[in-house]
């Protein structure tokens, strides 16, 4: 099931169930998404809490919080009509559905979460360090780079792990833009993730078949991954909360 040369051909004459493409695809998409979300999320959190007046920042923050309430099918829909279409136009790809598109859509979905948690860290760090650092004659930006960012590093890592965990399990949005080909994922090529695979195939499976068992096995792998990632993130968060009090 986990050999590299076994393909995913569940309904051919001699069915093959190679899960490796889907597992790597899941990790690949989530990784792209988390990197994107971190870049924009940390930058956004710094911008909101550092350069904007408090009341305006608050309005933007609660606005961004609303984005978290948008259902994933709408993200997938927008991704399909904007990102995928855009790729198709620029890249002259057949349809534009690819791993990168899924990463971008998922990254946008994770953005509100990253901004919210990082904002909290930035606010705490500012309260603790800013005045004493400014009093040393450092510029605002120097304080930001030399004091605030290093002090929230662990908070960012925790947020990244939680976001990664969320990304691993995302179904609809990813499924709509990734192309759903059970091949090894390439940046601009189609791919497949475990949740998308499950959503696509479970409707056509016979009860008690090997196919269904393999789907459950795939999700078991996903759950173990999630357990490790979210568990670590959770523990890190708890440690941070303890440090702060």
């Amino acid at each position: 099931m986990f050999q590299a040369d076994t393909k995913w051909q569940p309904v051919s004459g001699t069915p093959q169930f190679g899960l490796l493409p889907a597992i790597t695809g899941t990790l690949y998409v989530s990784a792209i998404a988390v990197i994107l979300a971190l870049i924009f999320g940390v930058g956004g959190a710094l911008f909101l809490n550092y350069y904007l007046p408090d009341n305006i920042a608050k309005i933007f923050l609660s606005f961004i919080e609303l984005v978290a309430g948008i259902p994933s099918v709408i993200f997938g829909f927008i991704g399909l009509t904007v990102v995928v279409k855009g790729f198709a136009k620029i890249g002259k790809m057949a349809a534009g559905q690819c791993v990168l598109a899924a990463g971008i859509v998922l990254g946008v979905m994770l953005l509100p979460y990253v901004i919210a948690t990082c904002s909290e860290s930035v606010q705490n760090a500012r309260k603790t360090y800013e005045l004493s650092a400014l009093a040393l004659g450092l510029s605002k930006e120097a304080v930001l780079l030399k004091t605030i960012l290093p002090s929230i590093r662990r908070g960012i890592i925790a947020a990244a792990m939680m976001a990664f965990g969320r990304g691993l399990g995302e179904t609809m949005a990813v499924m709509m833009v990734i192309g759903n080909s059970p091949i090894f994922p390439k940046f601009f090529g189609r791919g497949q993730t475990i949740p998308a695979l499950t959503a696509l195939e479970m409707g056509s499976i016979e009860y008690g078949s090997m196919h269904l068992s393999v789907l459950y096995a795939a999700n078991a792998v996903l759950l173990i991954l999630l357990f490790v990632v979210l568990g670590c993130g959770h523990m890190l968060r708890r440690r941070l909360d303890k440090d702060e009090t």
């Binding site: 911008f47 550092y50 309430g69 948008i70 994933s72 399990g169």
Partner: protein, 280 residues
């Protein structure tokens, strides 16, 4: 000199990233509402879908009602269970192993991907118990997804604000149940309701758990629990995925998003009102 360049570069980077983050958020709303506005009419809201293939004409009324039914039912089940678990954890966790178990179960449940609720609901309810695709099965799957959402937030509400009241009240010789009924629950009622409503909005927007457990492309308004039903997000997914009608997809997305936004804003309004009342 080097210092100054670094300073402006940092500032520029922050501004660019921040503005684009806000811009993306803004774009999502504006895009859907702008593109969807053309389809919205009273008949779109109040008619059944028609046309060949289905959904390319007519309206989305059954989907709207189906979604509301689904949301209500799963909020009822998931909300009760979630608040119950939170009550136990906040006030009755006298046996240590059990409370650790419940707490871990809820945390674990909160990390499970939504599709797994669909998969397990599908194999367990549809195949094992043979209920058939129905509002009931879908609601149960969604309710299971809502439980941790409600429970974690409700526990926070109970713990942050009301622990002191319980001890004080017990010190007066009142029972736990009386304190919960007369003091703590009434005082938290609006916040709890808001939490359940948010959970409902979250559940109503999800497609993955209802994919094969109850949602269908065309159905009437469900009259029994065992009827299959239409749902807004599922309808949207089918329209997009099968490429039936992009125009109607935008309309459906408009309605779905507007509805969920309304619920969220209402909840936010109630919470901030409550906060203002308390800080006065």
């Amino acid at each position: 000199m080097r210092h100054r360049v670094g300073k402006y570069l940092t500032r520029l980077a922050c501004f660019l990233l921040g503005v684009s983050a806000i811009g993306i958020a803004l774009f999502l709303f504006v895009y859907v509402f702008w593109k969807g506005r053309g389809v919205i009419s009273l008949s779109f809201l109040l008619d059944s879908p028609s046309g060949v293939p289905v959904g390319t004409d007519g309206g989305i009324f059954p989907a709207l009602i189906g979604s509301i039914f689904l949301g209500g039912l799963s909020a009822l089940m998931g909300g009760l269970l979630g608040i119950g678990a939170a009550l136990y954890l906040a006030f009755y966790s006298d046996r240590k192993w059990l409370s650790v178990l419940v707490n871990t179960a809820i945390l674990g449940l909160s990390g499970i991907p939504s599709i797994l609720f669909g998969l397990v609901g599908y194999t367990l309810l549809i195949y094992k118990l043979g209920i058939g695709r129905s509002l009931l099965c879908a609601s149960i799957s969604v309710a299971a997804m809502i439980v941790p959402f409600v429970s974690i937030r409700a526990k926070k509400i109970f713990e942050e604000k009301r622990r002191g009241y319980m001890e004080e009240s017990l010190g007066l010789g009142l029972s736990k149940e009386y304190t919960l009924r007369k003091l703590i629950l009434p005082h938290c009622a609006s916040e709890l309701l808001g939490t359940v409503a948010l959970g409902m909005a979250y559940g109503m927007g999800a497609v993955a758990p209802i994919l094969y457990t109850g949602a269908v492309m065309q159905a009437d308004i469900p009259r029994k629990l065992t009827d299959p039903f239409m749902s807004l997000p599922y309808h949207l997914y089918m329209l997009v995925n099968n490429g039936f009608s992009l125009e109607y997809a935008f309309g459906t997305a408009f309605v779905l998003m507007a509805f969920l936004l309304l619920v969220q804003l209402l909840c936010k309004g109630v919470t901030s009102l409550q906060e203002r009342k308390e800080s006065r």
